[in-house]
Symmetry: C2
Subunit: 332 residues, 2 copies
Amino acid sequence: MTTMTRKRDPKLLTEAMLAGDRVALARLITVIENRGAGTAATMSKIYKKCGKAHTIGITGPPGAGKSTITSSVIEHLRERGKTVGVVAVDPSSPFSGGSVLGDRIRMQKHFLDEGVFIRSLSTRGSHGGLARSGRDVSRLFDAFGKDYVIIETVGVGQTELDIMEVADTVVVVLVPEAGDTVQVMKAGLLEIADVFVVNKADRDGALRMKTELEMMLHLKTPEGDDAWQVPVLMTQASAGVGTLELIDACVAHQDNRKRRVTPDARMQERLKAEVLEICEEELMRRLRAGRTNGEVGALLDAVGSGEKDPYEAALDLLGSPEELSKLIAGGD
Amino acid sequence: MTTMTRKRDPKLLTEAMLAGDRVALARLITVIENRGAGTAATMSKIYKKCGKAHTIGITGPPGAGKSTITSSVIEHLRERGKTVGVVAVDPSSPFSGGSVLGDRIRMQKHFLDEGVFIRSLSTRGSHGGLARSGRDVSRLFDAFGKDYVIIETVGVGQTELDIMEVADTVVVVLVPEAGDTVQVMKAGLLEIADVFVVNKADRDGALRMKTELEMMLHLKTPEGDDAWQVPVLMTQASAGVGTLELIDACVAHQDNRKRRVTPDARMQERLKAEVLEICEEELMRRLRAGRTNGEVGALLDAVGSGEKDPYEAALDLLGSPEELSKLIAGGD
């Protein structure tokens, strides 16, 4: 085994990472991000070490100030002596309004702090793998021993909602000008938010937005006496105002959750769904890896030359159990 | 067979649709959008009837005025006696800036026109199926006999880029305030655009944007003497200014394309990629349909109860060729 292979071997990296090696953690994140052959096996090893961190998801529309909030939250957590891992999920579109460069500049002051580990994941071209990468990387931070893991997403599309499923506490950040609160409901944010934040609270309409959110929350059916009451906080994150209260609210939510949660039905369903997702991803990887195989290659060539249409060729392939199992039987 | 089943049977719907039945077309679109068991077989039948329509993709950042342009283009095409099918792909996020309601209102005047068929596809919860739905529905319009098929997307994420692969001509709409043209390059729009439109051309910076785009296009390596020169048009779609020229540019592009295109390498690769995509989608459907099967169900229960972690369970499933082939062997 050459030095280079050793540096990339997921097993060795996992051992080194679990022993506290930051460089191994960084390399392992890259392995996981690339979704290579060893991903599921690596994650299975790491999964056993998970569950100690408090994972906080921060989501909301572009321009709501999520990175500024994250940065301020990190600062407060560090003052309390806590370690933090941050997964920042970059926007899928350069037009979506998130200023990635600006975000990185706002986070810059934390880059030299050994107690903080920040990693950006990019959406482009990931074809759904991003939700899985985001969850896996947050689990890596957890297994590595970070006290807090923050998952920051730009935008509130399906990928972002999927990533949020790994979070213990979901913080939804809004700004007064983000449009009326009806949009919050349409986006399904009312369902996933454990804490609402109205940021840039000095602007017009902030108080009205808070009131509207509280009214909508009031309409939700309570789950029981011990049910969590979703708070609506006001922040001016750029001045550090309100972010300490945000941390306290997240901690209170986590305490409440731990008190209430016997493994609940929703969590069980999520875990089952994850099994199928992991299978899906692995099957797709094998399918793509096997595309140059004999018969499959011939079938694809027939499509390329116009002999068969793509739907017909796919049905041929799916109708031939032998070819199909050869293709997906595994390995590279 | 009951009347209700007959109304939903893809085979009967396909026959009726190909015979010109608008209601059957509408029902078939719903079948295709739901991505049920018969999707690939239906599309294979329809694929053979495709290739007559001129499929125009219209994409660009939210708020660029794509729906207004589409509406104006429809109007001009109808004046020329052409029939039009429109697939409008709704934004994945209510925060992305696209005003879906407004779009529909702008299109409203065409809803009573028998020569125009408009269908919106929604992103939410589609998990990557949207790109496939968008392409399939545009092919349905083609097979139905529409002269023009317009695919309008909101946003320029991966899904939108994927959908655009089915278009003969890709129109990228920008507005001066959409940010500098460097973003155009970052989004990969320079690679996919056959025609650029600077809409809201009366605003500041429109001419500068046009000049910058032309400079960037000039830097692209030309493919040969007969290569298509990507034009940059200026429009004020809300006043109908410039959209006639846009249609002419699209027609010129289609003529140029037909002159040049012997089945090219890029197209062949796309068709091959589609075979794998269709296989993927079908495998996923079968995997999800088979989730309650005996052994698989037991494995999922073990995950739900915490006995196994989801990665481990997925690896178990993938490591058991018998279980796996039973699961994906087909049927529902």
